[in-house]
């Protein structure tokens, strides 16, 4: 293993640990605000791993969408919910068996998909800018999902303006 590879591995483990710590805080703490901030840490860690894999577009979009929008939305929801902010909420409620079942189900689905998939490793480095290619693919091969998503977002935007006008 050459030294640059070693450094890349080291960085991967650092960011992986960051992600895992964030995930553990998210599910482990009883303070809902800390949970949400732990989620932010995990999402930023994933973005850092994307950067490491030279998927810069994906990394930046990960931060923009997940941290900049969804995490903020979660924080807002926490803040506007009365009574959730007091520290030391009970860790279990009546739905814990169902929740555990669903979580286990998802774990096994992902586990078997990850085990069963053949992950091809190409032995060359991507040097060109991939963002235009992503754009081209969205406009040709994947144009239908792209149009459906943009229609949904446009409807949301127009709806927001209408609500703001009232």
């Amino acid at each position: 293993m050459t030294i640059p590879e070693l450094l890349t591995h080291l960085a991967f483990f650092v960011f992986g640990a960051l992600t895992l710590v964030g995930a553990l805080i998210t599910v482990g703490t009883r303070n809902l605000l800390h949970s949400a901030l732990g989620l932010v840490l995990a999402l930023v860690g994933v973005a850092a791993i994307y950067f490491l894999l030279e998927a810069e577009f994906l990394a930046v979009v990960q931060i923009l969408v997940y941290v900049g929008a969804i995490a903020v939305l979660i924080l807002f929801a926490v803040m506007l919910t009365r009574g959730l902010m007091t520290a030391g909420l009970p860790a279990f409620n009546g739905q814990w068996i169902a929740a555990a079942g669903v979580a286990l189900l998802f774990f096994f689905i992902f586990f078997f998909i990850a085990i069963g998939t053949h992950w091809p490793i190409k032995n060359f480095q991507v040097t060109t800018d991939l963002t235009p290619k992503i754009g081209e693919q969205l406009m040709t091969t994947y144009v239908l999902p792209f149009e459906v998503a943009s229609l949904l977002l446009l409807a949301a935007l127009v709806g927001a303006i209408v609500i703001a006008r009232e």
Binding site: H34, L37, E56, F57, V67, G68, D129, I161
Partner: protein
């Protein structure tokens, strides 16, 4: 002249040559030498940015006091040093020596982490800013989006400060800040789409290169009619995103003390202040890069041009602060959703219609 033009790039190259020579005799394996050179050079560049940031901060605080003072028919800071030039140093010493108070009911961890969290994305933004010809720490292919992403990370830190303080004013300030930043991000990103359509790239370096023709008349601010509109919408929404007057409701001192910074004292308050000024500076640098041709210009060295353009925009921001009253919160949100977003959307539409014309003109 050539010496001044390439002052920093030559310095960088010379240090690199020195390092390579020094390591050649060390007997380390070749790839270890390469890694070591790269690491040392990275540390040097990062250190340069980390020195540039506080120096800029000091300069900006002094300039703001002096300029706003002049606009309001006052003299401004003039006690410490000649023309009050040492005032920022005195302020810095004061910040560092003040007592650090954490409120009894505050969430200690979140309260302490917030000022650190707000500074990280701010300093990270500098990584992709082109300071001059070949003076960019990292030419990311997605530089434009990276800047926006770093701007949106600051939201979380403001939120942490507002919530971690256990103070009603801090909470209101935090909520206002988050609502405002999210709202103004939309027109900001939509105007960036205009630039994206004109250039077809998100690399800041390539965007500057695309504005090089016609002796300055190819700057995107001159791409009539969409360029000037995009520039104004971008500048206004960016100022709102970094909480500058007249959009500084999150810290409106006449209503909610100091918003999310209410409970902070000493250097923690200083870090918020630091981040705010640097964010404004970065926004002005990006505006200069996207619309005013970046570091390009006649006679002066490129890095001087970059600073001249940036400080001209900073001066406009101070001018706003000196002359305009603060918005009301409902007016603020209305301005984003009812004025800026529709303008930006129409602007994108006009750009796509006129795109063949712009392309034939070489924009």
């Amino acid at each position: 002249m050539d010496f001044l033009n390439n002052l920093f790039t030559n310095l960088y190259d010379n240090v690199k040559v020195l390092l390579v020579d020094a390591l050649k005799s060390s007997g380390l394996p070749a790839d270890a030498q390469g890694v070591l050179v790269a690491l040392v050079l990275a540390v040097i560049v990062i250190t340069a940015i980390l020195i540039f940031a506080p120096v800029t901060f000091l300069a900006l605080t002094y300039l703001e006091r002096k300029l706003v003072g002049r606009m309001q028919n006052r003299i401004g800071a003039n006690r410490v040093g000649p023309f009050g030039l040492l005032q920022p140093i005195a302020d810095m010493i004061k910040m560092f020596t003040k007592e650090d108070i954490i409120p009894a009911n505050a969430d200690r961890l979140v309260h302490t982490l917030a000022p650190i969290a707000i500074l990280i994305p701010t300093v990270m933004s500098f990584a992709v800013v082109p300071f001059g010809r070949n003076m960019q720490a990292l030419d990311l292919n997605v530089g434009l989006l990276y800047i926006v992403a770093m701007g949106s990370l600051g939201t979380i830190a403001v939120f942490m400060a507002g919530f971690g303080s256990s103070n009603k004013f801090a909470l209101i300030g935090g909520m206002r800040a988050v609502a405002q930043i999210i709202s103004y991000e939309i027109p900001q990103v939509l105007t960036l789409v205009t630039i994206l359509l004109l250039t077809g790239t998100m690399s800041l370096q390539k965007i500057i290169d695309a504005q090089s023709g016609w002796g300055g008349w190819q700057w995107y601010v001159f791409a009539f009619p969409v360029g000037p509109i995009a520039f104004i919408v971008y500048f206004l929404s960016a100022l709102a995103e970094v909480n500058r007057t007249p959009f500084d409701l999150p810290e409106g001192e006449s209503e909610i003390v100091a918003g999310h910074m209410t409970e902070y004292s000493g250097m923690k308050f200083g870090m918020f202040y630091f981040a705010e000024f640097l964010n404004m500076f970065i926004v002005c640098m990006i505006a200069a890069t996207l619309f005013l041709g970046g570091w390009q210009g006649p006679f002066l060295p490129p890095w001087v041009w970059m600073l001249v353009k940036t400080y001209a925009l900073v001066w406009i921001a101070f001018w706003f602060r000196g002359t305009l009253p603060r918005f009301r919160i409902d007016q603020l949100m209305g301005f984003a959703w009812k004025v800026l977003v529709p303008i930006a959307l129409i602007n994108i539409f006009v750009t796509t219609v006129l795109l063949p014309l712009y392309n034939s003109l070489g924009f």
